[in-house]
């Protein structure tokens, strides 16, 4: 694949990417050290408590797996110039379906899990058909399926049924450790590694950025745009289903309101990671760093004495995430704005795709 490489080189993207990711890494190390210093204390029995404990680090990892998986699912979608608002709703639907398959139909765990992931891919296929097949705007289609998937989850459970009492073998996926790390972290790392290979090391994966940069150009270059675009949404659905299994195993229950609002944080993590919301630019490494920065921020704040006194970890971390997102955007856009002002043009790029 020659095209993406020359594209990248001529725009200096690789250099820029490196800079953005380095910057994120610096932010991550800084906030981690800050929380380590201010959030760790020794209690009366001489035990270390707070941020600096290994348990807390595992907790951060455990809690970031679901949003992390959704962010990984969204990375190729956004790289290819799309968006998927429906992933968290699909997580809820898959959790409920998994509960029904195991409890009401009495299927064995592995068959139910496999069926759930297949269903997630199928639901992603609905997005794919409408977006890649009929070429409808991804924002509207996934706004519709956002409502549809969550609504189906509510209808299937009549808004009330909660599935609990899962087999211990299944719960260990979300609550136990394997080889020192939480079990779900291994799943997360495996998906992350697979996604990195796909996006950065395969022909199909490298086409995502080309499609996001210019769908017409990609089509003229002979890339299978429709097929690859469809694949991105199907993959997102399957990963959302995996996240649903982990979510259910961690909490030990499946309800229709599972993971409400997670899509916002997943999108925030992807964009914070340096992926352009217009598509065409970004990386899996950036997304992972974005997830880590948000997760450490949220968990770390909860260990600071002043935040504990205010009882406002959630609120402050949410606000700081918003500010970080704006800062990351402004940081990447203002230099371009200055050069654009020099030649006096302002292209009113649409919010989701660059203007033609």
């Amino acid at each position: 694949m020659k095209t993406p490489q020359t594209l990248e080189r001529s725009h200096g993207w690789r250099k820029w990417l490196l800079r953005h990711e380095t910057l994120l890494l610096v932010v991550l190390v800084l906030e981690w050290s800050l929380f380590y210093y201010f959030g760790t204390s020794v209690n009366r029995r001489g035990m270390t408590v707070g941020f600096g404990t290994l348990d807390r680090q595992f907790d951060i990892l455990r809690h970031s797996c679901e949003i992390g998986l959704l962010a990984l699912a969204l990375t190729p979608v956004i790289l290819a110039g799309g968006i998927d608002l429906s992933v968290a709703s699909l997580l809820g639907l898959c959790a409920v379906i998994f509960g029904q398959l195991t409890h009401d139909l009495g299927l064995s765990l592995s068959i139910a899990a496999g069926a759930t992931v297949a269903l997630g891919a199928l639901a992603g296929g609905l997005n794919a058909t409408l977006i890649a097949g009929l070429r409808l705007p991804p924002l509207i289609v996934t706004l519709g399926t956002y409502s549809l998937f969550r609504g189906l989850a509510e209808a299937l459970t009549r808004g009330a049924v909660t599935y609990s009492d899962f087999a211990p073998r299944f719960l260990s996926l979300g609550q136990d450790r394997w080889l020192a790390l939480p079990v779900q972290a291994w799943v997360f790392f495996a998906v992350a590694a697979g996604m990195w290979m796909l996006v950065h090391r395969t022909v199909a994966g490298r086409s995502f950025r080309v499609i996001g940069f210019s769908p017409e150009g990609a089509r003229f270059a002979g890339l299978p745009v429709t097929r690859n675009l469809a694949g991105v949404y199907v993959l997102a659905g399957a990963i959302a289903a995996i996240a649903a299994l982990i979510y259910t195993a961690r909490l030990g229950q499946a309800k229709a309101d599972a993971a409400i609002g997670y899509e916002l944080f997943a999108i925030a993590a992807v964009v914070l990671g340096g992926t352009s919301i217009f598509g065409g630019r970004g990386s899996v490494t950036g997304t992972l760093l974005g997830v880590a920065v948000i997760a450490v921020l949220k968990n770390g704040l909860a260990t600071l004495p002043v935040v504990i006194r205010l009882n406002a970890a959630e609120e402050i971390s949410g606000m700081l995430t918003g500010f970080l997102l704006l800062a990351a955007l402004a940081g990447s856009t203002i230099p371009k704005l200055v050069s654009a002002r020099r030649n006096r043009s302002w292209s009113n790029g649409s919010f989701i795709s660059p203007s033609p």
Partner: protein
């Protein structure tokens, strides 16, 4: 005629729905429940009017729910502090306008993508309000609910204000220069700039207007109950965007009408009472709304394909 085919198809769907309700569920047409349904949805319609402006200008604002909550709580606090309603309403509008201007400055001034800017604002404003209020309700003093009038007069007042607003805005969008400029900027910003329009200012104005209308809607919502709920705006952005899309406003900018969006909102708003009267479980509402949005998207795609051909 074919210019408005999308809007007309929404109207046809709405008429079919109302007719079907008349045949199978005449209970839907009792005056009092219908009146309270309309009053409940009036604030959403006011926000949707602003969203039409922003979407026609080829932008989006997903922070309206948070803006709505902030304006509601602020309006409630001012009313509780003894401000008369004639001052509370403009204050709420002003707060909304300022929040809208902040979005507008970030999008039009710095050229940041509006979906991410307003996503950041959605989270920041919501959590800021939580931090400030800790989820507390605002209890309103007597004389605030329904502006201190009787319920039916208050409802009539809100509905009349909404109706006038929609008509005036629709006329302005069609006949006033600024209204035409919004369409021009949404169709092609660079071409509009070459034609002497200032796309940045038009975009900024659209966001400011949406904020102001959100503030107005919040005030209309505050007077409907004895307490102000701090989460009243949660999820409103999706409802509003859904109404706009179902009403035939093109998300790619430059096309759409206010009355189309009004009809779109009416279709979505009638689903829930229709389910009740047709004895379908209410849990299906969200799924049906999603299906309606998807159908609207498909209709829009078909219209575009036909006009391309």
């Amino acid at each position: 005629m074919s210019r408005y085919s999308r809007e007309l198809s929404v109207l046809a769907v709405l008429a079919a729905m109302l007719l079907a309700l008349g045949v199978w569920a005449p209970g839907f047409y009792r005056l009092q429940p219908l009146l309270s349904l309309a009053t409940r949805e009036a604030p959403v319609l006011v926000v949707a009017c602003g969203m039409v402006l922003v979407v026609i200008a080829r932008q989006i604002d997903i922070s309206v729910g948070s803006q709505f909550s902030i304006c509601s709580v602020a309006g409630g606090l001012l009313a509780a502090a003894g401000w008369p309603m004639v001052l509370v309403v403009p204050a709420s509008v002003a707060i909304g306008a300022m929040l809208g201007m902040l979005n507008g400055a970030l999008v039009a001034g710095l050229g940041l993508p509006s979906i991410v800017v307003t996503l950041a604002m959605l989270v920041t404003l919501r959590q800021g309000l939580n931090l400030f209020r800790q989820g507390e309700f605002v209890t309103l003093p007597d004389g605030v609910q329904w502006f201190g009038l009787s319920q039916s007069v208050g409802q009539a007042l809100i509905l009349a204000a909404t109706g006038v607003l929609v008509i005036v805005l629709a006329a302005a969008l069609r006949h006033v220069a600024l209204g035409r400029q919004i369409y021009a900027v949404g169709s092609d910003a660079e071409a509009s700039r070459l034609a002497g329009i200032r796309p940045r200012w038009v975009t900024f104005f659209a966001f400011a207007a949406l904020g102001a209308l959100t503030g107005l809607a919040a005030a209309m919502n505050v007077v409907q109950s004895p307490q102000v709920q701090p989460l009243s705006g949660n999820g409103m952005e999706l409802k509003v965007i859904a109404a706009v899309v179902v009403g035939g406003v093109a998300i790619s900018g430059g096309r759409g009408t206010l009355w189309g969006a009004t009809a779109g909102l009416m279709v979505l708003a009638c689903i829930s009472p229709a389910l009740v009267h047709l004895h379908i479980e209410a849990y299906w509402e969200k799924a049906i709304q999603g299906a309606v949005i998807l159908l609207a998207a498909i209709a829009e795609g078909l219209r575009r394909r036909r006009s391309d051909a």
